[in-house]
């Protein structure tokens, strides 16, 4: 029973919460709408209603035009679903990293994960080596990418055994690993023949075009598990965001928690990136935009970033499918849209909003 003294305060709190929940619902709805819409977008012309019919008919077992079915069911559906999970995962990763590192520019993507993935893919494409023996082709690309993108976090974990690292040092260690990976990738690309170079280059940009029903399964499963885990930790993330001293006095071990979350985030990002290639700016831009609307409470920030990230990536992918004049993978679209957005966020940042 709330005493009448606090009733108005309580009401205000409820309104605030319901506003945030409304915003999340809004984002989710639009993301779902865009996902359905994006299925009808592409160079093969088919109307929105028709594409919807194809999906329903196929699910009910009714006969459908083979070509329509192939385009809608085998090409565009997996792509849209991949966009949803990749966008949600990358944005969640960004939100979590920003909270626990206490830096609005932190992003798992920048911390060497993407360049590790690129290196792994390049090793597979150019040298034909699979780091886990016995795999060939696309599977070895994906596995290599995954293994190498986990290296930065492994290095950070090893370093923390010897000395305590501040969040910024973790980020910068990731960055310097990124530079070393980048140099290695470059070296490998120089050995390649033009065909391999073009393939490695294209892989390095990031596209959702490689999505199939088979390879969205691991992405969907792992991203969902990691997102649920991270969402459950949102309270202690909130505490971490207050700074290490406050965290300690609230009974949270900041160093251990941070390590733990870093591993989860890396695992999630690495999974996504090894299938899509590096898609930048989702984790950097989406949480920061969402923050403008609903603030930095991780309980709301994480689900909302996820929804917004999906929405953002689907829109970017729709643009990349529409602009078929030039070969424009979604990674480039993201950079073109995300770059300026990033700049505006950077300029809005003031001393007080972070620490």
């Amino acid at each position: 029973m709330i005493s009448p003294k606090y009733a108005s305060l309580h009401r205000a709190y409820e309104t605030m919460i319901s506003k945030k929940v409304l915003f999340i619902v809004f984002c989710v709805t639009i993301a779902i709408l865009m996902m359905v819409l994006s299925v009808s977008i592409g160079s093969y012309k088919i109307s929105f209603i028709d594409s919807f019919k194809v999906i329903i008919d196929h699910m009910l077992g009714n006969p459908v035009d083979r070509q329509d079915l192939h385009v809608i069911w085998n090409l565009r559906m997996p792509r849209a679903i991949m966009a949803v999970f990749a966008g949600a995962g990358l944005a969640t990763g960004g939100a979590v990293m920003q909270s626990m590192m206490r830096n609005p520019l932190a992003d798992p993507y920048i911390m060497g994960i993407s360049s590790g993935a690129s290196l792994g893919a390049t090793i597979s494409i150019i040298l034909g080596i699979s780091l886990i023996p016995g795999f060939t082709g696309d599977l070895s690309i994906i596995l290599n990418a995954f293994l190498l993108s986990m290296i930065p976090v492994a290095v950070i974990v090893l370093f923390t055994k010897h000395r305590s690292l501040s969040p910024i040092m973790m980020i910068l260690i990731g960055l310097s690993i990124m530079f070393i990976f980048g140099a290695t990738t470059t070296l490998l690309k120089l050995l390649a023949n033009p065909g391999q170079l073009a393939e490695a280059y294209m892989w390095g940009i990031g596209t959702l075009g490689r999505a199939t029903w088979e390879n969205i399964i691991p992405v969907a499963v792992l991203t969902s598990i990691c997102m649920v885990l991270l969402f459950r930790f949102s309270n202690s993330l909130n505490i971490l965001a207050m700074g290490d001293r406050n965290a300690v006095s609230s009974g949270v071990d900041p160093k251990r928690k941070r390590m733990y979350y870093l591993i989860i985030v890396s695992l999630m990002t690495a999974t996504i990136v090894s299938f899509t290639g590096p898609i930048g700016f989702v984790g950097l831009v989406c949480p920061n935009i969402v923050r403008q609307f609903i603030g930095s409470d991780n309980r709301f920030l994480i689900p909302c970033s996820a929804a917004f990230g999906s929405l953002f990536l689907i829109c970017a992918d729709s643009v990349s499918k529409t602009v078929s004049v030039v070969n424009m993978p979604v990674g480039v679209v993201m950079a073109l849209v995300g770059g300026p957005l990033f700049v505006s966020i950077l300029l809005r940042m003031n001393k007080n909003s972070w620490a």
Binding site: M169, I180, A183, A198, V332
Partner: protein, 366 residues
């Protein structure tokens, strides 16, 4: 304490100081000597080996205008040394000195030990401008050919430079924030560059790619004058204002109270740096990390007195590029661009700089 004691103490300090200065000057001289030796070595080594001392003779003869019959051994020697290897070395020296100067200036301008034209994204912006000019024949400015490419590179590099100015003015950002922002900016420009290159055909891609990494392969004498003029002019200007850099290192507030218009000075210097970086990048591609490696290595040896640090870093930077170019050209068969080798050095260097810090750069400064 009695008077004679003070005097001998003063004498002691004086000799100490002399030794201190002497050591620094000796280091600078050593760097310059190393540059010369490496240059001659670079002239001598390669697929066609030429004896070390013979190089001097060839260059001397060339200066005196001696010509040889085409196709003879002497003609080949002359051609290879003076038309192929020498321009490459000269560009290497100019690039090394200029990029090292760029790094050291940015580090004191932004009071950020990790700043460098490459890490802050200025190089990527310049590279995008130049690639746009080369591949698409598109120029933001109406000046033709080489100067046009350079002008484009400059315009490209201005975007990150302005960003940095704005960030440094609005946010009291920690060094790490600056680096993160720089990484994101360079990611943006790299994506644009990639887009342009992917739309080029596969064979063009391989050429453009080698160039994008930073290489001295395409050096010819014709490129040197413009590059040299801009670099030397920039160096002179920066050396003239280096005393103000020292003032700035006292902090923005103190510098202002000493009569320095901090914002204007920073803007001016960063634009100057952009011009210099663009002049180098548009011929060599992105050669990264020189501005990070050279000043920090030198600082470890002779300390951070700017009067000596700047010339020493420039000499060191030149030696670094000429030296790595020898490695790139000779030790690794097939020749890999210098940029790659420098990134292999630069990544660990960055890591070392980060881990050496007892107190992190982190914790957003208030």
């Amino acid at each position: 304490m009695s008077a004679p004691d003070t005097e001998s103490g003063a004498m002691q300090i004086k000799t100490d100081y002399r030794r201190y200065i002497f050591r620094k000057i000796a280091f600078i001289t050593a760097c310059v000597v190393v540059v010369v030796i490496l240059s001659v070595l670079s002239c001598a080594a390669g697929d066609r080996e030429i004896p070390f001392w013979h190089v001097f003779e060839i260059i001397w003869n060339n200066i005196n205008g001696i010509t040889y019959e085409i196709g003879t051994n002497a003609w080949w020697d002359d051609y290879i040394v003076c038309s192929i290897r020498l321009p490459r070395i000269v560009i290497g020296i100019i690039a090394g000195a200029s990029l090292a100067l760029g790094g050291i200036t940015m580090q004191s301008l932004l009071k950020n030990p990790l700043a460098d034209p490459y890490i802050t994204g200025i190089s990527s912006g310049a590279c995008f401008g130049a690639v746009a000019a080369i591949v698409m024949g598109m120029t933001f400015s109406a000046i033709a050919s080489d100067a046009g490419i350079m002008a484009n590179a400059f315009i490209g590099s201005l975007v990150p430079a302005l960003m940095i100015i704005l960030i440094s003015r609005r946010v009291r950002s920690s060094p790490a924030t600056m680096v993160l922002a720089g990484t994101a900016i360079s990611y943006f420009f790299n994506a644009l560059t990639t887009l342009i290159m992917v739309s080029a055909d596969e064979n063009k891609l391989a050429t453009a790619y080698r160039w994008q990494i930073g290489t001295l392969e395409n050096a010819v004498w014709d490129q040197i004058p413009l590059m040299l003029v801009i670099t030397v002019a920039g160096m002179v200007l920066l050396l003239l204002v280096s005393s103000r850099l020292n003032v700035l290192s006292l902090g923005d507030d103190n510098a202002t109270s000493l009569g320095l218009n901090v914002t204007r000075f920073r803007t001016f210097s960063l634009i100057l740096l952009s011009v210099m970086t663009a002049a180098i990048i548009s011929y060599t591609g992105i050669i990264g990390f020189v501005g990070l490696i050279a000043p920090h290595m030198v600082r470890m040896i002779i300390g951070s007195d700017n009067r000596y640090l700047i010339p020493a870093s420039m000499a060191f930077g030149a030696a670094l590029i000429v030296g790595t170019d020898i490695i790139a050209r000779i030790i690794v068969s097939g020749g890999i661009p210098v940029g790659v080798i420098l990134s292999f050095l630069g990544g660990p260097m960055l890591l070392y700089l980060i881990l050496r810090q007892k107190k992190s750069y982190g914790e957003v400064q208030s």
